[in-house]
Each structure stands twice: as structure tokens, then as C-alpha cells.
Amino acid sequence: MNKPSFFFLFFIYGLIGSMLCIAYSQDSNDSLRYYHNVIVKPETSTELNSAFLFFEREIQKQLSKGDTISAVQNLRRVAIGQYELGFLYESEATAVKALKLLEGQKSNVVTQEARSGVLNHLGIVYKQIKSYDKAIYYYGQALDLALDSSDSIPTLNNMSYVYIDQNKYGLALKTSLLVLEKRLQQNDSIGIARAMDNLGFVQSKLNMVDALDNMESALKIRQRMHDIPGMYSSHHHLSEYFFDQGNRQKAIEHAELAYDLAKQLNSASYLENALSLLLDLSDDPKVIAYRKLTDSISSAKQIQENKYAMVKYNVEKERQKAQAAELQNEREKTYKIIFISAFIIAIVVGTFVVYRKNQQRKRELVQTAQKTEARISKRVHDDLANDVSGVMTFVENRLNIPVKMKERLLYFLNDIYVRSRDISVANAGVNVSDFPSALKNLIAQYHPKGVNIVTSPYSNISWDKVPEHKKIQLYKCLQELLVNTKKHSKATMISIAFNGKGRKNTIVYSDNGIGFDTDKILMGGMKNVETRMTEIGGSFSFESNKGKGFKGSLLF
């Protein structure tokens, strides 16, 4: 007699479905509603697979968003679906996952309902795999969390069903009475009828006198309410009752009535159940033998399935573990790589930033020096040279002193004038926008009479790519070299070769003059050139020997 499960399960899920409905009632998502219905009423649809997929995706999304409650509700739906398909262990795992997620959540009405629901589901799963103690344990837990009667009734029913399965009718009676009590408080006729029917059924197993009364009263209420599934349930129970009492005639009557109702309901599961009942009542020895056989086969099959599911589940668990370990390994590797690359990038970027800062600082230093030079030279030029010139005119035209003395005075004044003017020329700002022509003018400035000056094509160096502050420094360096040649070398030829190769440029300056010893006073000028070149990250080298001319290379 394994059949009562049908009725109990039927309303167990009806109720969970409605609870979950409450949970998502604010959600206007149509597909959620659709797939929810697919899951909770599996007999109405064959789309369980797509429902699973839908919920898996939803769960992933919700978990990544941190919406744990929604994920839990969907996990519950998936667990129900898995149960319906017979994947009991998967269903268990899903429920446990939901339970774990709930552990981290604050306790409130929603989470409490969810936890209670999940615990109830675990009870159902364990009952199905005949772990009755576990089932009772989880139902008890669910009961502790139940918010009110309507929450606790299905769980209590489930408990009494486990007791019936275990033939613990005394305990079943207790819970059934409790349910009826709660149903009476609710004043819900259909609920009361269902509780009375169940109570009567348990009482009948205990051979109690009230059994028939209760079952018949329940049937009457149901007939009045036109509750066809309920009526079916009543007739089924009555049929069993009379069969137990040995009244086969009555038992068959009720079974036939149940069959009619099943036909009215036009539901395969009701029909199957009703026909199965009729077969149970058959006195044909072949049918009895057949029933016995199918019963034992199905229970053996169930045990096999359970075993297989257990193994499959364990394998799956191992696989997941291995996968997780591998993932962890992979992740650690990735982290390592990321860490090392980040480290290297940080060093490279850091070095680069420091280098750039340094470069910029150098450039600013050079630019400041150049600006200062230009400013001072303008002062010397505008003020000093002009003033001396004024004094000279005054002396020339107005001063009445002996001619010889006047000449001497004018000579000295002119010397001061020329020197101050030359300071300004040497340090004035340089317009480097057209650098070749600036250089040509520079050469012209210091072009000694009778000296040939030859240059290679200026365009050998891409001047566009040379920054302004570098051009100014180069200008000053060449100026220094030209002044040296003009003043000291007695050269008859100056050559300036421009060479550019990629980002490396050189200017080779040479004259065919008398040269100088490297320890001589001219070294001051060479030092200046070297300083200017290092300031712009370049270098300067030269060679000169007395009587051998001069050759200097500017690298930048």
C-alpha cells in the first residue's frame, strides 16, 4: 500500500508553489512566471529543460549582482523541478546550496519563509529516498521556522505521511489531529475536509471508531464544495478503508466512483492512480500476482536507482571538487602572472615617469638658464651699450679736452661699448624657428674675412624633430666654436658637417687653424660647450694640437 503519497504530495507542492508565487509577485517578469508554472505544475508542460536553463541563468545573474534572495527562490524552483524529474540527489544538492546561501542572510519574514520552504523540501526528498529519520528531522526544522498555521500545515501533513509510511500510526494520528485543529481555526472548508479525511484515514489504520465518520463527513463537505480532487481523495481512502475492513463490495464501489472522478478530471495521474486502485481490489489471482511482482520490481528498481543516483552524485561531487581544485590552481597561476606583470609594469612605468620627470626638469633648467641669459643680455644691450654710446657721442661732440686725451678716452669707452654689446650678442635670445637660416646668420656674424666656410647640407638633420631648447644650446655651442676660430685660430677654412642617422645627430666642426694645446686658456670655452651639450643629454668631444687645426663633434 504505497499509494497515499499521491494526495499528500499533491497539496504539498500546491502550497510551496503558492508561497513562491508570493515571493515573486512583485516581479513583473513574464518568463519568470511562465517557467515558475512549468516547474510547479510539471504535468502541464514538457518544457522543464528550458525552465532549468532559464533558472540557471537567472541564478548566475542574481548571484553576480548579489541578489541572494532571488537566487535562493530560483534555486528552490530548480530543486522542485529536479525532484519532479527524479533527480533526487541533485535536488538535495540544490536545496543545500540554497540553504547555505540563506545562512549569510539576515533573518526576516522572507528569508525565514525561504529557509522553512527549503527545509521542507529536503524532508520531501529524504522521504522519497526513504531516509525517514532525516525527513522527520528536516520537517521538524521547517516547523520551527514556520511563521503561522498556513505555513506549518503542509509540513505537518508531510510528517504524518512519513509516519504512515513507517507504520507509526500513533504519531501520524497526533500530527493529523494537530492539522485538523489548525484547519478549524482557519475556518477553511476545503482544508478542514482534507484534514478530516486524512485523520479518518489514519484512524482507520488504527482501527478507531471515528474513522469512517470523519472520512464521510469530509466527503460530504467536499461534495458540497464541489471539490472534485478532494472527492476523489475521499473515495480513494474510503475504498481502502472498506478493503481493510474486508468489505470488498464497498471498496470496489468507492474505487469505481474515484475512477469516474478521475475521468472527470481527465488527468493521467489521477486515472493511473484510480486504475491502480481498482487493480488492487481485483481478486483475480493473476492480477494479484502481477501486482505483487510489479510492487517488488518497482521497489527493487527504486533501491537500484537510489544507489545509482548516490554513486552518480558522488562521482559528480568528486568531479566538481577536482574541477574546483583545477580552477583554483589555474586561478593561482593567473594571479601569479597578473601579479608579476603588474610588478614589472609598475617598475617600467615608474622608471619611465622618473626618467620623464628628470628629462623635463633638465629641460626646464636649460630653458630657465636660456631665458635668464636672454633677459640679462637685453638689459646689457638696451641699457649699458646705449648708455656708453651716449657718453661717447657726448665726449666726441661736447667735451673740450686735449685731442690726445679725447682719443684715449674714446678708445676706452669704445672698448667698453663693444664688450657690453658683445655680451648681448652672445647671450641674446635665439629665434630658432628656421634653424638653418639662424645658423647661417650665426656663421655670418663670426665669418672672418678671407676664410672659406663650407657646410654639408643642413637638411641632413631633421631639425623639426629637435626640440627648441636643444637648438638654442647647439646654436650657443657653435657660436663658442666660431668665436674661438675667429679670435685665435688664424684658420683659412672652417667646415661644419651635419649628419643625422635616426635619432642620433652629430655636427662636426673643424678649422684648419693653428690649433691649441688642450691645457690652454681656451679650455674654458670648450668646457662651456661640453656643459651645454650634457645639459641637453648630448656630448661633446674635440681634438686639437698646436699646429694641427681643431675638430670638435657635437653629439645629440
Partner: protein
């Protein structure tokens, strides 16, 4: 001789000295002003009165002082004057001695004379005015060489460098000519190559092609 000359010079001693230097030239009116703005005003006024100035002698740099000025340098003044009275003769009188700067005064601003403020040049102001009066452009002697320098600077061209490079590879003059001809380079006849070679030898003071190559390498040209 010119009848009306305007001197723009902020330096008192220099201004009066200049005026003095011109006394021997029988110029009837010499006016000295100390600011560029003043100079421009005077020029405009004289123009309106029908007695325009013929020559402007101006300094280039003017000291900055409390006065708010729209023209702060001789260059700016010259540019404005050229707009108002293009025929005005311009003589620049300055401590400036950068060749490039002076060249641009002639080339871009179209001045007629530049006279330096050192002793040698001061005495040339009269000479400069006379030259300008004759419609000539005056170059102070000390500048003539420098101003002509850029014409005397010899910038080798790419073909010169190429020729030197080919010589280092041991090519003979005929082969170089052939090399030039194959690539349609200009002046590719043997004669032209020889001329070019001669010019280069002269520049580098070389007697033979080998010597030339050595010189060019030594001086960083190849």
C-alpha cells in the same frame, strides 16, 4: 639735401649728439623725439600739414618706463611708418650687431641704412644720410663683409656628398659620371663631374682625389 629729418632716440645724450653730427649737412629741420608713439604722431601730423618728414633716424630699443606705449620698439615704429608714408627714408641707428637681425631690417623692413653705435660707425651717419639722399642703400663698412657672408658660405649639396662617397668606394671619374647618368642625376657629364671634383678639391684644399676623400672624412662630411 633733405629738409625735414626726424630722430627717434630715447637716450638724451645720443639724440643731441646725433643732431650735432648732422649740422654740417644743411638740413633745415631736425626734430628729436624720445618715444616711438611720438614719432609716429609727428610723422602723421607733418603729412597732414603737407610738410612731411623725409627721413626717420631711429633706434631699435626703447626703455620701458611709466608711459603706456602702443609702439615699444624701432621695428614696430618702422612697420607703422611704412604703412603711413611708404616713401619715408629709414635710417636705423642702433647697438645691434647681429648679422641676422640687421639683414632682416634690410630685407623685411626695407630700411635704407644701418649705422652702428660704436665709434667707428657714429662718424658714418653723415655719409649714410648722403648716400640715402642719393637714393642708394647704405651699408656700414663693418657690415658689408658679414652681410655678404651668407653668400660666401658654401653649402654642399647631396650630389657633392654622393660624389665624395663614390670616391671612397674607389670609383673613377668616368664611373662616377656613368653612375650619375644611369640615375638621371643633373650635371652628369664627365666634364661636370670633373668640375664638381675640382670645386671640392679647392674647398677642402686637397691636391688629389685621395687627399680630398681623406679631408672630407676627417671633417665628418662622409
Amino acid at each position: 639735401m633733405f629738409q625735414k629729418v626726424l630722430i627717434a632716440e630715447d637716450h638724451g645724450l645720443t639724440g643731441s649728439g646725433l643732431k650735432e653730427s648732422l649740422t654740417g649737412l644743411s638740413i633745415s629741420e631736425i626734430l628729436v623725439v624720445h618715444y616711438c608713439d611720438d614719432a609716429l604722431l609727428k610723422i602723421k601730423a607733418a603729412l597732414q600739414q603737407g610738410t612731411p618728414f623725409e627721413v626717420l633716424i631711429t633706434d631699435l630699443s626703447f626703455k620701458v618706463d611709466y608711459k603706456n606705449r602702443s609702439l615699444s620698439s624701432g621695428e614696430e615704429l618702422i612697420a607703422e611708418v611704412k604703412k603711413v608714408q611708404p616713401t619715408m627714408k629709414i635710417v636705423v641707428y642702433s647697438v645691434e650687431n647681429r648679422v641676422g637681425k640687421i639683414k632682416t631690417l634690410y630685407d623685411d623692413l626695407g630700411i635704407d641704412a644701418f649705422v652702428g653705435k660704436d665709434r667707428r660707425d657714429i662718424n658714418e651717419i653723415g655719409k649714410a644720410i648722403k648716400q640715402v639722399f642719393e637714393g642708394k642703400t647704405y651699408f656700414s663698412e663693418s657690415w658689408q663683409h658679414a652681410l655678404r657672408s651668407s653668400e660666401n658660405q658654401l653649402e654642399l649639396d647631396d650630389y657633392d656628398i654622393l660624389l665624395l662617397k663614390l670616391l671612397t668606394k674607389g670609383l673613377k671619374q668616368e664611373e662616377i659620371a656613368q653612375y650619375f647618368q644611369e640615375r638621371n642625376y643633373p650635371a652628369s657629364s664627365l666634364r661636370s663631374i670633373q668640375d664638381r671634383l675640382g670645386k671640392l678639391k679647392a674647398i677642402f684644399g686637397a691636391k688629389t682625389p685621395v687627399h680630398l676623400v681623406a679631408q672630407a672624412m676627417e671633417r665628418g662630411f662622409i
